[in-house]
């Protein structure tokens, strides 16, 4: 569908949801739930916890949609709630994040137009190493790296999502990348 029409439809659904239309919100949820679950999984490295995070984030979004002003896009707003919820639930459970390696291996290699047969194997290998290294990063460091380098959020968006200053977001990202680099070097990258 035409991206403009998709955005217009989303705006309409958001307006209806703000007015209390649960069906409209359910439609919004269904169109974003895979992305929210993906982000939650990357932040928590735990499938069950990620599902709880996504569910809790949806409930928070439903409760808070009256205050959504539309300054950012709806998906960015949902991402912020998901990142915050992941942080809160993870701290509540105080469970050490782990990544079942067999999961990383089961995930199919992405098929993109840029995929080249000669580099596809290297990229797949690198992706697996990255998944493993990310899972070994402390939660706070993983959060900024995932939001910036994987999800492509700006420093400003990350700062807003995590409730920190932009400078703090930059510093945290710099330190996190250094740690990630050390982990990758230990892993032979």
């Amino acid at each position: 569908m035409d991206p403009d029409r998709v955005q217009a439809r989303e705006r309409l659904l958001v307006e209806r949801a703000r007015a209390g239309d649960q069906e409209a919100f359910a439609e919004l949820v269904r169109s974003h739930q895979d992305d929210m679950y993906t982000l939650a999984f990357r932040l928590t490295a735990d499938r069950d916890l990620a599902a709880d995070v996504a569910q809790e984030a949806m409930i928070r979004a439903w409760r808070g949609i009256g205050g959504f002003r539309g300054d950012a896009s709806f998906s960015t707003w949902l991402y912020r709630i998901t990142a915050n919820t992941a942080w809160t639930l993870r701290a509540r459970r105080r469970r050490r994040a782990w990544l079942p390696l067999e999961l990383a291996e089961r995930v199919p290699a992405p098929q993109t137009p840029e995929s080249h047969p000669e580099t596809a194997g290297d990229t797949e290998d690198l992706r697996r190493r990255l998944v493993t290294a990310l899972a070994r990063l402390p939660a706070g460091a993983r959060q900024v790296v995932v939001l910036k380098d994987v999800e492509g959020m700006s420093h400003v968006e990350i700062a807003a999502a995590l409730g920190i200053t932009t400078t703090a977001a930059k510093v945290r990202l710099h330190r996190a990348r250094l740690r990630l680099r050390r982990l990758l070097e230990e892993g032979g990258t």
């Binding site: 703000r18 409930i59 990255l130």
Partner: protein, 106 residues
């Protein structure tokens, strides 16, 4: 004299690049220095890896919309109730009732 890299020091410079050439430091950094070239290659590889990671999307294990409907106490978005008008109206009603009572009592 052995040519040096302006950005990462003398040890890693390769002779391929003429140190006297008026090449901008960044171009020199990328094209001339073995160490920096390694950094650049690693940076490119990492970006490729992150892009591959970002391209993978997981499917939600359940319908979260149904979860919201099932959640107790989640019936509608919280409305922002204007506090001041509510207080003013309530106070006015109390005053009006009080006056009426006094008038009725004579």
């Amino acid at each position: 004299m052995k040519p040096t890299c302006r950005l990462c020091g003398p040890l890693a410079m390769v002779a391929a690049l003429d140190d006297r050439s008026p090449v901008a430091p960044v171009a020199r950094h990328v094209s001339g220095c073995l160490r920096c070239q390694a950094e650049v290659a690693r940076g490119r590889a990492l970006r490729r890896g992150f892009a591959a990671l970002g391209a993978v999307r997981y499917t939600a294990p359940r319908d979260f919309a149904a979860g919201i409907e099932r959640s107790s106490g989640v019936t509608a978005p919280r409305r922002r109730v204007p506090v001041v008008p509510v207080v003013v109206v309530a106070a006015s009603v109390v005053v009006a009732l009080s006056l009426r009572r006094r008038l009725a009592a004579g």
